[in-house]
């Protein structure tokens, strides 16, 4: 089956989710990847959205973090202070799945302002929401984001949520026990965190993508692992599940 780069990205991101994960899900691409995992290889994964819905199994992707579908299909729905205190801060989440407007090679994320400075930004974005604490309280962080030199930058304009900091040593210095960003899936490749330097290095390249393309769409000097593999193309089961999910979602959001 033919597939698009976005489908490849979603499928590759979904594959990283394990059946026994407890996953804090960001809206948009992370939500698509997590639900695709649930509908394919990880049927028992626990998906949690910050609106308070725990163990939710939506039939269509939510447009917002608090669509009724999330509550209707959840094991339980708790108040938002409980969500952030007992479940996230309490250390009960294995994976936080995030996206961003900008990120750097250490997985620091920006969803706050672009251009100018914080008080006089060129573009004011929605802000961090749950991300500052998701980034430090979840066992590890997966990121999914379309690759471009505008989004993948040397210096992010604002540190909305901490990855491995400006030098790769900040988590340890702050006494943070969780792993931080460990995996970044894009429409071109998969990057993983180098255990020593803590920067993202390319470990898997999607079929038909060149190293040159990856370098051109990255704002920092990209590094490749010694052993780089080719990402397996999406199989028929994965594509069928993703397309059916997207079709149901489009129908539901059109209000029909």
């Amino acid at each position: 089956m033919n597939y698009t780069a976005t489908e490849m990205m979603t499928v590759a991101a979904a594959r990283a989710i394990r059946n026994d994960d407890v996953c804090f899900v960001g809206i948009g691409m992370p939500s698509a990847a997590c639900n695709l995992a649930r509908l394919t290889h990880a049927p028992d994964v626990t998906l949690i959205y910050e609106s308070g819905t725990i163990g939710t199994k939506p039939d269509v992707l939510p447009l917002s973090i608090g669509d009724g579908e999330l509550c209707d299909t959840a094991v339980t729905t708790v108040a938002v202070p409980e969500m952030f205190r007992y479940w996230l801060q309490g250390g009960r989440i294995s994976v936080g799945f995030l996206g961003a407007a900008q990120l750097d090679k250490f997985g620091n994320l920006n969803t706050t302002v672009v251009g100018g400075d914080y008080n006089n930004p060129k573009v004011r974005l929605p802000g961090g929401g749950g991300a500052p604490e998701i980034a430090t309280s979840c066992g590890e962080i997966f990121i999914v984001m379309k690759q471009s030199s505008r989004g993948f930058v040397d210096n992010i304009d604002f540190m909305t949520s901490l990855g491995h900091g400006k030098t790769g040593t900040e988590r340890e210095a702050l006494g943070i026990k969780t792993r931080g960003p460990s995996r970044l899936t894009t429409d071109l490749c998969i990057m993983e965190t180098d255990p020593e330097s803590k920067e993202f290095i390319v470990t898997s390249i999607h079929p038909g993508v060149t190293r040159k393309q990856i370098a051109e769409n990255t704002g920092w000097a990209i590094r490749f692992a010694d052993q780089v593999v080719e990402t397996p193309a999406p199989n028929d089961t994965e594509l069928a599940a993703l397309r059916a999910l997207n079709e149901r979602t489009a129908r539901a959001h059109a209000g029909q």
Binding site: G28, T53, G68, V80, G128, G129, P132, I176
Partner: protein, 285 residues
């Protein structure tokens, strides 16, 4: 004191110029009808608090009611930016807007601390986060027992909290179900609270003993406004109007188009239109 009043009376008696106001709702049960009444009564210089300000705060800001917004995520979920918020913040239209920005964890903890009568909230947060450097209300303390560095923010104590809920009984107790967000905390943290409800029932005899119920003596006013959360939703009554959230983006993108929409749909309308909006939306499904 009469708890059951009209929406006009509830806002007139409880929301004043310069107040600190929280209209809460985490995607679900957002009090749109009450927000529109605040706009019709032309309140000014409000400090608005909400974790997830969405279209109703965009509308209040664009209509010039707001001096400052305290928030943790200000966007149109799944769609993009709040156009009127950005125009006010970036270009001071219709006038300058101050902001105070937090994370969700901080806001949720601050509401809980407000409800608990504490001066501040303490939690494990803001580690390495840029907001801690630009917001002087984010500080750190040392745990007196372990020495761990913990974040602290002032508790939230609104002058008035406004929420929407599913039901009130004849005595004015209020039931909230589904995604309950921070509404209970926001009501208990406030000096005054107004609730709009879908329905008034005789009693809560069939309600689960652990359900989220706000006793009537925690509230100043209860108003029945069927459909009052539209285009947000009320679990058990109507679904979220996702199509409207998408349609809002072009409506709000230009100042003139926004003003024309507000004139027709808010200034020239009243709370009674919400029931028909919900009926229309559900008929499309």
């Amino acid at each position: 004191m009469t708890l059951f009043v009209s929406l006009k009376e509830a806002i007139a008696a409880n929301v004043f110029d310069g107040d600190v106001v929280a209209l809460e709702g985490f995607t679900h049960l957002i009090p749109y009808a009450a927000g529109h009444e605040i706009i019709r009564q032309q309140r000014k210089d409000l400090t608005l608090i909400r974790m997830t300000p969405d279209l109703i705060y965009d509308q209040l800001i664009g209509m010039g009611c707001v001096k400052k917004m305290i928030f943790s995520w200000g966007g149109n979920p799944g769609v993009g930016s709040l156009r009127r918020f950005r125009d006010a913040y970036e270009k001071s239209w219709p006038h300058k807007l101050e902001i105070e920005e937090h994370s969700h964890a901080a806001m949720a903890n601050a509401y809980e601390a407000g409800a608990a009568g504490l001066p501040c909230a303490v939690f494990r947060g803001y580690l390495g986060a840029g907001l801690a450097e630009v917001n002087p209300n984010i500080r750190f303390i040392e745990c007196p027992f372990t020495g761990e560095r913990l974040a602290s923010v002032p508790s939230i104590r609104p002058d008035v909290t406004v929420i929407h809920a599913q039901k009130a009984n004849r005595k004015g107790d209020v039931l909230i179900e589904g995604i309950v967000g921070v509404q209970k905390e926001a009501v208990l943290a406030a000096k005054r609270a107004i609730v709009t409800v879908e329905e008034i029932v005789d009693n809560f005899d069939d309600v689960h003993p652990n359900a989220c119920v706000l006793p009537n003596w925690t509230l100043k006013a209860v108003v029945q406004v069927p459909g009052g959360a539209h285009p947000s939703y009320a679990k058990g009554y109507y679904e979220r109007d996702n199509a409207f959230y998408k349609a809002w983006d072009p409506i709000a993108s230009e100042r003139e188009g926004f003003q024309a929409w507000m004139q027709e749909n808010v200034l020239n309308a009243g709370p009674e239109v919400f029931a028909s909006r919900v009926a229309f939306t559900q008929a499309q499904k």
